[in-house]
Subunit: 213 residues, 2 copies
């Protein structure tokens, strides 16, 4: 059976959620963050050189990198569901938003998270540049969710599963006010009504109220 | 015909290189960086809200996000070449390294680039944390290229096309000493001997000697 190594309060929630959406059975291995550093615990670090979650085990295979895991599970165990293929009219939009999640959205938040910790004055040009980039990225998502109910278009897809973490749990590490983004907030409410999302969050992070507002 | 918007000295070199590897014809639209800010020029910013390259046009479609473009071109125009499918023994390795390029490698360099510009003392904990993360990521690539000639394994794939920019042209923006990484340096020498790579760099960035050392 597929084993998911899930680090509490981390992007590995994507994988738990994916498996719930696909109706797959899996063995959920919980790892708690170090109470002081908030980083991965030794048991998780021992599994892979980058020491981060998500990680899955599938027989002999140990696989890291959340986008790789999502694609692997969909193709190998999910019958290709939640991906759009080249014949679908929203194929290019699906590819764009799927890859946007790790190509632009999460890196923009990650840069701001690290730069914010440097203790720079609020008007420091590096801080304003990094914040400005994140504002642009968020404005693009807001516009998209004004024209379609999901990132790829009408259909809920793996592009949503890849992206939601950045708007929700990632805010534990890099706070972000969603007030300027009514379309994103409405989208998160819709996501929060999905039974698979509720099950995933309840199983993966029972101590956390999903940050959907 | 496929039109590629290429910003000089940028990750859009990936797309020019991909098309050369696939033997596709394309219309190459050059954009030069602003001489002072080193950012995208107005003509490129006008095309897409994020104002960055690469961008492609394919008939009515305008598509950004380099991983999305790579996948789109391979599937729609390249007959699926340079991707490994689920039946291939290196399928999971291909997925890992393809997604690693934008999921870990480039974000680690991007964080260091921004934090470095903040003017922190060399022993500032944010700087050492970000540098430490990049060191781990580089060590992982170095180890991989000690066990296989290409990132996915024996075969040259799109995982290489996605990753090489971080070791080469990205160093214009975030210098990195490759001396500690003999396997990566040998790999870059092999890449530099590929006729398609040479053609792509000559067409895309004729003013730049490919940074393969």
């Amino acid at each position: 059976m597929l084993k998911i190594h899930h680090l509490g309060h981390s992007q590995s929630e994507r994988i738990v959620w994916l498996c719930e959406e696909l109706g797959l059975s899996y063995d959920l291995q919980h790892h708690a963050r170090d109470a002081v550093t908030r980083l991965s615990p030794p048991a998780l670090k021992a599994l892979h050189p980058l020491g981060a979650a998500p990680l899955i085990e599938d027989g002999e295979l140990l696989l890291a990198e959340s986008a790789a895991i999502v694609e692997y599970i969909i193709v190998k165990h999910g019958g290709g569901r939640l991906k759009l293929g080249p014949e679908h009219p929203d194929y290019a939009a699906f590819l764009y938003w799927f890859h946007f999640s790790n190509g632009n959205l999460l890196p923009a938040m990650g840069r701001l998270m690290m730069v914010s910790r440097a203790g720079l004055p609020a008007d420091h040009p590096v801080l304003t540049a990094v914040q400005g980039r994140l504002d642009k990225v968020m404005a693009l998502v807001e516009a998209r969710l004004g024209e379609a109910p999901h990132l790829a278009g009408e259909e809920f897809t793996a592009a949503d599963i890849m992206s939601v973490f950045s708007f929700t749990t990632m805010r534990l590490f890099q706070p972000m006010d969603l007030a300027p983004y009514p379309n994103i907030r409405a989208y998160l409410q819709r996501i929060g009504e999905r039974p698979a999302y509720r099950r995933a969050m309840a199983k993966g992070d029972p101590d956390l109220v999903p940050m959907l507002k």
